[in-house]
Amino acid sequence: MELQEVIGVAVLRGRVKRRGGKLLEAELELDSSCRIVRAVISGDFFAYPPTAVDDIEQGLRGCKSAVCIRGVVHEAAQRSTFLGVTPSDIEELLVSLWRRCAGSKGST
C-alpha cells in the first residue's frame, strides 16, 4: 500500500492503488482534538449500493479513535459489496490518515 499525504492545517489526504485494483482516495478534515469533522472517500472503484460510501462519510463525523473509524467502515461493509477495493483498504487508509493527526499530538 502506498500512502501519499499532504498535511494542511487540519486536512489529511491519502491515496492507495493496489495492483489489479482500483484507486482509492480519502480526505479527512480534523479539529484540534483529531475529531473528524468531514470525510470524503473517492476513486474509481465500485460499491453496491453506492450509498454505502455516503454512509461511511457521514458515520465518520465525530469519530476520534481508530476503533470508531473501523466500526463505521465495518458496519457499512456488512450490508454492501465493494469491487476494486476492499473494506480493509478503506479502513486502513482512513486509520493511517487519522493516526498522522493523533501521532502528531502524542496520542493514538
Partner: protein, 254 residues
C-alpha cells in the same frame, strides 16, 4: 432463445440525456416494470462522464473541457472517467434481471463484457480479452471500460467501445494520477489506451461496430435481439432525471 429489446440511437444525444435514460431503465426495473434491454448510443456533443465516487476536479481537465465544448456529467455508476467521442465511440448499456449467473458482481462484469470481446473478435481482433475488474483490452491496451449499477433485483451495465476515438483529445481531457498509470506499467494515459481502428490498421466504421456489438452480445449472452423503442414511461422518467444530470449540485458533488 430469450428475446431481448434492442434500442439503437445512432443520432446521438447529450450526456445528461444518455445518463438519464440509463438510470430510468434501471429505476423502472427496480420498480417491477423492467424490460431486458441492450441499448447502443452515441454522445453528441462529445462528453466526459465520471464515476459516481470521483472528484471531478481531480479527474477531468475542466479548462480543456470548457475550451473544447465537452460536456462533463457524473454517472450513477462507479468506475473511472471516460471520454465519449461521437465520431469514434459507441456506448452500450445492458439492463437485465439478477439471474443466478449475474448475481455475483465480479462474475457479472465478466459475463456482460464478453459481448464486447465477441464484438471485437467479429471485427477481426484476435488478441482481445476481458481484464478484471471492468476492462476489455486488445494487444494489451484498453479500448473498452464498463460500469454497473444495481437496484432491487436488476442491474444495468454500461460501457464504451472505442473504434476511432481521438486518443490525443482523450489524453488532454482525462487526468490520471501517477499511481494509477504506474499500476498499469505506463507513464501517460495515451500509452494505456487504443482503438479498434488502431489495432486493425484500418478505418473501422460505426455501422460495422453497431452490427458487431449486436451479434457479439447475442452470442455472449445467448439472446436474440429485437429492435424496439423506449416506452412513454421510460421517456417520462428520463425527462425527470435529466434535471439531475444537468445540475452542478450533482456533477460537482465530489
Amino acid at each position: 432463445m430469450r428475446r431481448v429489446r434492442l434500442i439503437i440511437e445512432e443520432r446521438g444525444a447529450p450526456a445528461y440525456w444518455n445518463m438519464a435514460v440509463d438510470e430510468a431503465l434501471l429505476e423502472l426495473s427496480a420498480r417491477g416494470r423492467g424490460i431486458e434491454t441492450l441499448r447502443l448510443y452515441i454522445f453528441r456533443p462529445h462528453a466526459v462522464t465520471i464515476g459516481y465516487f470521483q472528484r471531478i476536479r481531480e479527474v477531468v481537465n475542466l479548462e480543456a473541457a470548457q475550451r473544447l465544448g465537452v460536456d462533463v456529467v457524473r454517472r450513477f455508476t462507479g468506475g473511472g472517467a471516460v471520454y465519449h467521442d461521437p465520431e469514434g465511440e459507441v456506448t452500450y448499456s445492458y439492463s437485465a434481471p439478477l439471474t443466478p449467473g449475474l448475481r455475483d458482481v465480479a462474475r457479472s462484469y465478466r459475463i456482460i463484457c464478453m459481448g464486447i470481446v465477441e464484438a471485437a473478435r467479429l471485427l477481426g481482433v484476435t488478441n482481445v480479452e476481458f481484464v478484471p475488474v471492468n476492462d476489455v483490452v486488445a494487444n494489451g491496451r484498453k479500448f473498452s471500460g464498463s460500469a454497473q449499477g444495481r437496484r432491487g433485483e436488476w442491474l444495468l451495465q454500461h460501457g464504451t467501445f472505442m473504434y476511432a476515438t481521438d486518443l490525443d483529445r482523450l489524453a488532454e481531457l482525462l487526468v490520471a494520477p501517477r499511481e494509477k498509470l504506474a499500476s498499469h506499467g505506463v507513464r501517460a494515459v495515451r500509452q494505456r489506451v487504443t482503438t479498434i481502428s488502431e489495432v486493425l490498421h484500418r478505418e473501422v466504421t460505426r455501422d460495422e461496430v453497431v452490427r458487431a456489438l449486436v451479434k457479439g452480445f447475442e452470442k455472449a449472452l445467448g439472446i436474440e435481439l429485437e429492435e424496439g423503442e423506449l416506452t412513454e414511461e421510460e421517456l417520462r422518467l428520463a425527462e425527470e432525471l435529466s434535471e439531475k444530470y444537468r445540475s452542478a449540485e450533482w456533477n460537482f458533488r465530489r
